[in-house]
């Protein structure tokens, strides 16, 4: 599997972060982050809570503003220009821990809203695309229901489909399974695995180490706002270098 997935990664740079720093008030959340993501890479970001994992990926689509350093997404430098930010956001899909579906719209409307209003896709076409992706996440029969009528796992799959409808080139996952019952985690992970196999560039903040082993080609470990260690999953899990990583792994894998 590792050899096969290696091949899909190109030399083209999808995201380049150099010397990025962020503060919440006086609190230094992210410190000198350097990260280059190549197209087709599947990166898992792990680390204890409060280590800045979520903040890092939220900076990539400018949900959080960084104060120092440079982020280049798909060749566009992230600046404070609103037009620029909206362009990057429409190219980068994001899946949230709490799904954040729009409760006043049906599943289908959730999926067609952004294509119709941002991409100016005709309604008919947007609906066809939406149904295509809802089939892909295996819930086309729920299209006319409201988010409140679906289970957590189903809602998260809809959220993935909603992002995919914008045909993003990069997908960010912010702890997508943390709010789910154990029985529903698998259905969401299966969807993400399928997505990875198609060669989507993905950055996942997650605690699912099985998923990291199976899908990721690189695992990044963060602590106290810094990247402490990054490696291929085999090396990372079997032969961690830093003491902090060893401690972390022993705590989450030890039981």
């Amino acid at each position: 599997m590792a050899a096969e997935t290696q091949m899909q990664i190109s030399d083209e740079i999808a995201i380049e972060i150099t010397k990025m720093n962020k503060w919440y008030g006086a609190f230094h959340v992210l410190r000198d982050i350097d990260l280059t993501v190549y197209r087709g890479e599947r990166i898992v970001v792990a680390g204890p809570s409060g280590s800045g994992k979520s903040t890092l990926i939220r900076c990539i689509n400018a949900l959080e503003e960084h104060q120092k350093g440079k982020i280049v997404v798909d060749g566009t430098v992230l600046s404070s220009d609103i037009k620029n930010i909206d362009t990057i956001r429409s190219e980068v899909g994001m899946v949230f821990q709490h799904f954040n579906l729009f409760p006043h719209l049906t599943i289908l409307e959730n999926c067609t809203l952004a294509p119709i209003w941002v991409r100016k896709t005709p309604k008919r076409e947007a609906e066809e695309t939406a149904m295509h992706f809802l089939e892909k996440v295996k819930i086309p029969e729920q299209a006319d229901k409201y988010p409140g009528q679906l289970s957590g796992g189903q809602q998260q799959r809809v959220a993935i489909a909603r992002s995919l409808c914008m045909r993003p080139r990069i997908m960010l996952f912010d702890e997508p399974t943390s709010a789910l019952d154990p029985e529903m985690i698998k259905e969401v992970l299966d969807t993400m695995v399928a997505l990875a196999e198609e060669g989507m560039t993905m950055i996942c903040v997650t605690h699912e180490m099985g998923f990291a082993r199976q899908v990721a080609n690189r695992v990044i470990f963060m602590d106290q706002g810094q990247i402490v260690e990054q490696n291929e999953p085999e090396e990372f899990f079997n032969n961690p270098k830093s003491e902090r990583t060893k401690l972390f792994l022993s705590q989450i894998l030890g039981h």
Binding site: R89, S90, M94, F96, H98, H104, Y146, R162, S163
Partner: protein, 429 residues
Amino acid sequence: MSRDNLAFVRSHMLPEAPPPVAETGAVKWLRENLFSSVGNTLLTLVSAYVVVRILFGVAPWFFNGIWDSPSLSACREMLDGRTGACFAVLTERWNQLLFGFKYPPDLYWRPTLAFVLLFVAAAPVLFMKYLPRQMLIFTGLYPFIAFWLIWGGSIMVPIFALLGVLLGAFVYWRTLTISAGVAVLAGIVAALVFWWASRLVTAPLGDVLALQPVVSRDLGGFMVNMLLGVVCVSLSLPFGIMLALGRQSRMPIIKWICVVFIEFIRGVPLITLLFVANVVLAYFLPPGTTFDLILRVIIMITMFSSAYIAEVIRGGLAALPRGQYEAADSLGLDYAQSMQLIILPQALKISIPGIVNVAVGLFKDTTLVSIISMFDIVGMIRGPILASTEWNGVYWELFGFACLLFFIVCYGISQYSQWLERELRTDHR
């Protein structure tokens, strides 16, 4: 199961069973709601006694009521010592109660028609889902039609007013690509310039399709309350939304303008604003300017209620989880789109009870204009009707009638809002 044998394997799953058949019907309801304890039984009996006493007191007064009589003294003669109401004042002064005492009687059909058309215009907004979209065109035209019907004058005035609005909307639409703020400003300026210029054209065309003009001073009765209520509620909702969004704005100037406006208006009683509209404003305006009193009152009441509605909507906005804003942002929706499609539909839904509260309060507060010598229904009752020699002393019947009219409208608004809340419910709890 003995202590030694704790293992258990379910061999078959239990099927779903219906709930036990509980006792139902009126007897159960009575026992649960009225006689559930000694204290409640006592309260039930006491309140039943009070209700019966009130009914027996009011019934003869109501049913002995005289509906046809020229004056209170004639009424008393007919009653001949019995208790009874003198509803004749309502029938005799019916038109005055509804239209005021100076509105030309042969023109009563015009406000009546405007009132009937109000339902046609409001229906497509209130029942958006069930009526064809095209009816909204009439809703858009209605303010101009209603203005022409109530105030009369040349049809050119409302037509040019409408054209000005359309021009402003067109300019707004064309400049929207530059920036939303510029577009709003450009639209307003375009409309104002057009209206100013159109006076040159409308003046010589004053006789075209002219209805007999009626000046604002001659409007009166419940018509004024309806007019102020409808106009101010429908204006203060969009202004309230803008103020609420402005208060959340990241641009400090806009934010502070909104904060200062809202806090100032909320700190001032409505009645003082009305006095400002009536008296003080005249000092600031150049002498000779005719700035219509009703227009001034509309502006003041709208300012007042939009500040309150803004605060209600701000509550709705604050109640939305941050994830909704982030999800809208992450999909690449711009500010206007995410507000219009994601945030406001949800925030307004949460705010419905509060908005209705303000709307009902505003409608009832329109009676305050009687204090600045406008003859709305309360002004009519207190002034021309009670002061007349025929009807001096008929308080219960007149104020009861005013209460009834207000109750019908306010209860209607409240029932509609409850229906709307059920209609918009999508969480299926």
